[in-house]
């Protein structure tokens, strides 16, 4: 069965950078109102470069896995770089397709992250 790739399953069961930062530079929360899934994002930046991040997802396998994937992806990137990412870039963080009905799950963490960086 290929509903969930190995990569998604790995990040779901072992989410990376999933502890909130104590004194973040930026923070935001997000929710998918249709299902109630929630995320809280904390970031610490140094001269506009993200050097640490904590993404805590309370949600499904896809939103949890993408929280982890996004967290790893932003580390070491500049604020500007991260803000230039689009949805397609987020989906390309894993091989394989995310079904249309589940795309919102995949974007939950990234949307909150953008919100944090735009504050």
């Amino acid at each position: 069965m290929d509903v969930f790739s190995e990569e998604i399953l790995y990040h779901y069961k072992h989410p990376q950078c999933s502890a909130p930062l104590i004194s973040p530079t930026y923070e935001a929360t997000g929710e998918n109102v249709s299902c109630g899934d929630m995320v809280s994002v904390t970031l610490s930046c140094d001269h506009d470069t993200v050097h640490d991040v904590g993404i805590v997802v309370s949600g499904c396998a896809i939103s949890t896995a993408f929280g982890s994937l996004v967290a790893l992806a932003v580390k070491g990137r500049t604020r500007e770089e991260v803000l230039s990412w689009d949805d397609a870039h987020i989906l390309s963080l894993v091989d394989g397709e995310v079904s249309p009905a589940r795309k919102n799950c995949a974007f939950l963490a990234f949307r909150a992250l953008r919100k944090a960086l735009l504050k």
């Binding site: 069965m1 509903v3 299902c35 109630g36 949600g59 896809i62």
Partner: protein, 407 residues
């Protein structure tokens, strides 16, 4: 005799494969599948009778009008009402909104109370919230008990002289809970309170007579009753409808139009402005005929026994928690559950890969979800074409979900 294979043969979609598995459709509370007779009737309307209604003095238009008004008559007869008490709407939601904006806005005032229950679908909650805001009235909510039920006594506690209207579901779309409508309605009437029943789920599983229930109004959607989408019904007692002003104005609902004012037709036509869903209404009679036939053959008993089988099967799985009435007789064939800490959307995704369609989420009932202490549930809702083998497939799909996702 109830023969499920004969029933299934009438539903073309049930022979579809989804992801290389035979379709198991268990989202009937959202919408039911359609039998061939309903599909044929709509097709036949467009193929041979299509014209607008109430307008043309020519054969096609007369045929269309006859079909449309004949369908109204069939609905009335089916629920024990009179034709002039049946208003066609787009769905149950629109029917509630019509009642709220017309009856509610003219009968509910500052300081009055509107009573709903914790079981309500957003469709039977949000319009009342808005009415109360517009009118400075108060919305009161009858809480459910631990097991998801509501008794007549629970409602009576709230029946003060200020309660103008009670809006209550006959069957919860989340828990399957059946409310003791008859008792509650009698009690509300002793208090001078008008009762509108949300029958969206109830009518799919129980024969309803508005005479015996004595509700003042009742709403439902035909798409949950084997009929087409886009056809809903507001039933209201004749004297109630007569005191309701129209809320949508335009063609077809008028008697005489002068340049600066107009006179409206009587109910129900005054509530049906513009061209309605004529081809959808063409599917109403076959849908009612289908329900009457399967009920005579024992579909309600079949669904209850299938529901009991499903509950027992799910309960025997480690990690399953079913929400709602433990006593199956207090509930229709709608089962909401959680499983092993796995998110309902993930369960639905895994089920879909097995060809199984279920609903996951908050089921348009956020306040009820909060009360249950969950963000979402997985829900299976049964109909006459479902089988025990399909329930068994659900159980094995749950075991797959456990292997894949349990932490």
């Amino acid at each position: 005799m109830f023969d499920v294979s004969k029933i299934r043969a009438q539903f073309p979609i049930l022979s579809r494969e989804i992801n290389r598995h035979p379709l198991v459709y268990l989202d009937n509370a959202s919408t039911t599948q359609k039998p061939q007779s309903v599909i044929d009737a709509m097709n036949d309307f467009y193929t041979t009778h299509n014209a607008n209604i109430h307008r043309g003095i020519y054969t096609l238009s007369e045929e269309a009008t006859e079909m449309y008004e004949g369908s109204r008559h069939a609905v009335a007869e089916w629920i024990g009402a009179r034709s002039e008490e049946i208003v066609f709407t787009k769905n149950a939601t629109e029917a509630i909104n019509l009642f709220v904006q017309s009856w509610g806005d003219t009968h509910v005032g500052p300081g009055d109370e509107v009573l709903v229950t914790e079981l309500e679908h957003h469709a039977n909650l949000v319009p009342w919230q808005e009415l109360c805001r517009r009118k400075s009235a108060h919305l009161k909510v009858v809480p459910i008990r631990e097991d998801g039920t509501i008794s007549c006594k629970d409602v009576e506690v709230f029946l003060t002289p200020r309660v103008k209207v009670l809006a209550i579901t006959g069957m919860s779309n989340v828990l399957g809970t059946i409310t003791p409508l008859k008792e509650i309605i009698a009690s509300a009437h002793r208090n001078g309170t008008v009762v509108i029943v949300d029958g969206a789920q109830l009518l799919a599983h129980t024969a309803v007579s508005v005479v015996s229930l004595d509700c003042d109004a009742l709403v439902f959607s035909f798409h949950k009753l084997f009929g087409p989408t886009g056809v809903g019904v507001l039933y209201a007692k004749k004297e109630i409808l007569a005191a309701m002003p129209p809320v949508v104005y335009g063609g077809d609902m008028i008697e005489v139009v002068e340049q600066y004012r107009a006179h409206y037709r009587e109910a129900p036509w005054r509530f049906e402005a513009g061209t309605p869903n004529i081809s959808g209404v063409a599917g109403v009679i076959p849908a009612i005929e289908f329900i009457k036939k399967i009920s005579r053959d024992g579909s309600h008993e079949y669904c209850s026994s299938l529901s009991a089988y499903a509950r027992a099967a799910l309960e025997s799985i480690d990690g399953v928690k079913i929400f709602g009435p433990l006593d199956a007789s207090l509930s229709g064939p709608i089962i909401s559950f959680s499983f092993a800490g796995i998110h309902p959307h993930d369960i639905a995704t895994i089920f879909d890969a097995e060809g199984i369609a279920v609903r996951s989420g908050a089921h348009c009932a956020h306040p009820l979800m909060r009360k249950l202490g969950v963000l979402a549930t997985t829900r299976i809702s049964l109909q006459c074409y479902n089988t025990r083998e399909e329930i068994d497939r659900v159980c094995s799909a749950l075991e797959k979900a456990r292997v894949l996702l349990a932490k």
